[in-house]
Symmetry: C2
Subunit: 215 residues, 2 copies
C-alpha cells in the first residue's frame, strides 16, 4: 500500500536524484582532467539510475512520478540557484556534503515507511564510492593550498544551513510527512525532531572532519 507520505518521500528523493544528476554532469563538464570528468560522469550516471529505480517503484504502485515530484521542483531549483558552486572544488564539496546530508535525511524518514518502500530507499542511498573520490581530491587541494580550507569550511557551513532550512520548509508544507512523524512519535515529536537535526549535524561534522575542515 502506498500512502501519500510514501509518495512524498519517494517524490522528493526522485527529483533530488534527477537534479543531482544534472548538476554533477555539469560539474563533470568543468572537471580539470579527463580522469576527473570520468569519475564525476560515473557518479552522475549512478544518480540517474537511482532516479529510474524510484520512478519504476512509483509507477509499479500506480503513482505518476511527475505528480509525486511536482511539489518539490521549486524548492530544489531554488536551492541549486542559491548554491551554485564557484569552482570545481566547491562543486565537489557540494556533491560530498550535500549528498551526505540528503542521504542521512532520507534514511531518517525512511524509518517511518513500510519495509517495501524502505528497501528502495536503502538501495538508492548506497554510496557508490563517490565520497572517497571527493575526499581524496579535496584533501589534495587543501594540502596544496591551505587557504582553500577556510573558503571550503565556509562553503560547507552554507550548504548545511541552506539544506536544513529547505528541509524544514518542505516538511512544513507536506502534511502527510509531518503527520507520519507525529503519529509515530506522539508527544515526543518535538524531542524527536531535535534528535533528527542533531544526528544530521553530527554526521555533517564528521564529514567535514574527514577533510580536516571546521564545521
Amino acid at each position: 500500500m502506498t500512502t501519500p507520505a510514501v509518495a512524498d518521500l519517494l517524490g522528493v528523493l526522485a527529483y533530488g536524484e534527477l537534479v543531482a544528476f544534472e548538476r554533477i554532469a555539469a560539474d563533470a563538464a568543468h572537471a580539470p582532467t579527463v580522469g576527473d570528468k570520468i569519475e564525476l560522469g560515473r557518479i552522475a550516471a549512478a544518480e540517474f539510475s537511482h532516479f529510474e529505480k524510484i520512478t519504476s517503484y512509483l509507477q509499479a504502485h500506480g503513482i505518476d512520478p511527475q505528480v509525486a515530484m511536482e511539489p518539490f521542483v521549486d524548492v530544489f531549483n531554488h536551492f541549486h540557484e542559491n548554491m551554485a558552486p564557484n569552482d570545481w572544488y566547491e562543486g565537489l564539496l557540494k556533491v560530498y556534503v550535500g549528498d551526505g546530508i540528503a542521504s542521512d535525511f532520507y534514511r531518517e524518514i525512511s524509518a517511518y515507511l513500510d519495509e517495501d518502500a524502505r528497501k528502495v530507499v536503502d538501495e538508492v542511498l548506497s554510496d557508490n564510492g563517490h565520497s572517497e573520490f571527493a575526499i581524496n581530491r579535496l584533501r589534495e587541494a587543501i594540502a596544496l593550498d591551505p587557504k582553500v580550507a577556510g573558503r571550503l569550511a565556509l562553503w560547507g557551513r552554507r550548504i548545511m544551513g541552506e539544506m536544513i532550512s529547505q528541509a524544514a520548509m518542505v516538511a512544513g508544507t507536506r502534511m502527510a510527512l509531518a503527520e507520519l512523524f507525529v503519529a509515530k512519535n506522539g508527544p515526543e515529536s518535538g524531542n524527536e525532531l531535535s534528535g533528527v537535526v542533531n544526528r544530521l549535524t553530527v554526521a555533517h561534522s564528521r564529514r567535514m572532519d574527514a577533510l580536516g575542515l571546521a564545521s
Copy 2:
C-alpha cells in the same frame, strides 16, 4: 589484437560519448518540462554507459582509455564551443542530427575493424529510441510555429558542415586510420572516400526530411 587504428577509433568514439553525455545532461537541465528532462536524462545516461563499455574494452585490451582519447579532446571541445545550441530545439536537433552523423561515420570506419572491435562499436551505436523522442518534439515545435523550420534547417546544415570538416581534420592527423583505409581500398581510396561522404550526406538528408526540413 588491438592495432593503433582500433585504439584511435575507440578513443574518438569514447570521448565523443563522454562529451555527448555532458552536453545532453546540460540540455536536460534546460528542458521545458520535467517529462522532457527525464527523456534527455535517460539519453545522457545511455551515452555514459556506452562510454563505459568502450573504455572497458580498451582496458581489457591493455589500452589506457585516457591515452586513446587524448588526441581527440581538442577537436570535440572546439566543435561544441562553436556549436553551442541557442535554445532547447537547437539542442534537440543537435542531438538527433549530430548523433546520427557520428553513428554513420563510426559504422563506416568499423567496417575496417576486426569482428571483436566491430561488435563493441555496433552495440554502442544502437539507437536507444532517442531519435523518436527528438523527432516528435521537433515536429510539434515546427507545427506550432512554422518560422522555426527555417532556423532549424539552417542549424542542421551548420552541424553537418562542421562535423564533416572536423572529421576530415581528425582523419588527416591520425595516420593509423588513414592507412587502414588506404590499405583496404588501394587505388580506389579516393573514390571510396567520396562514397563515404556521399552516404553520410544522403543519410543526413533523410533525417532532415523526417522533420520536414530542407537539408
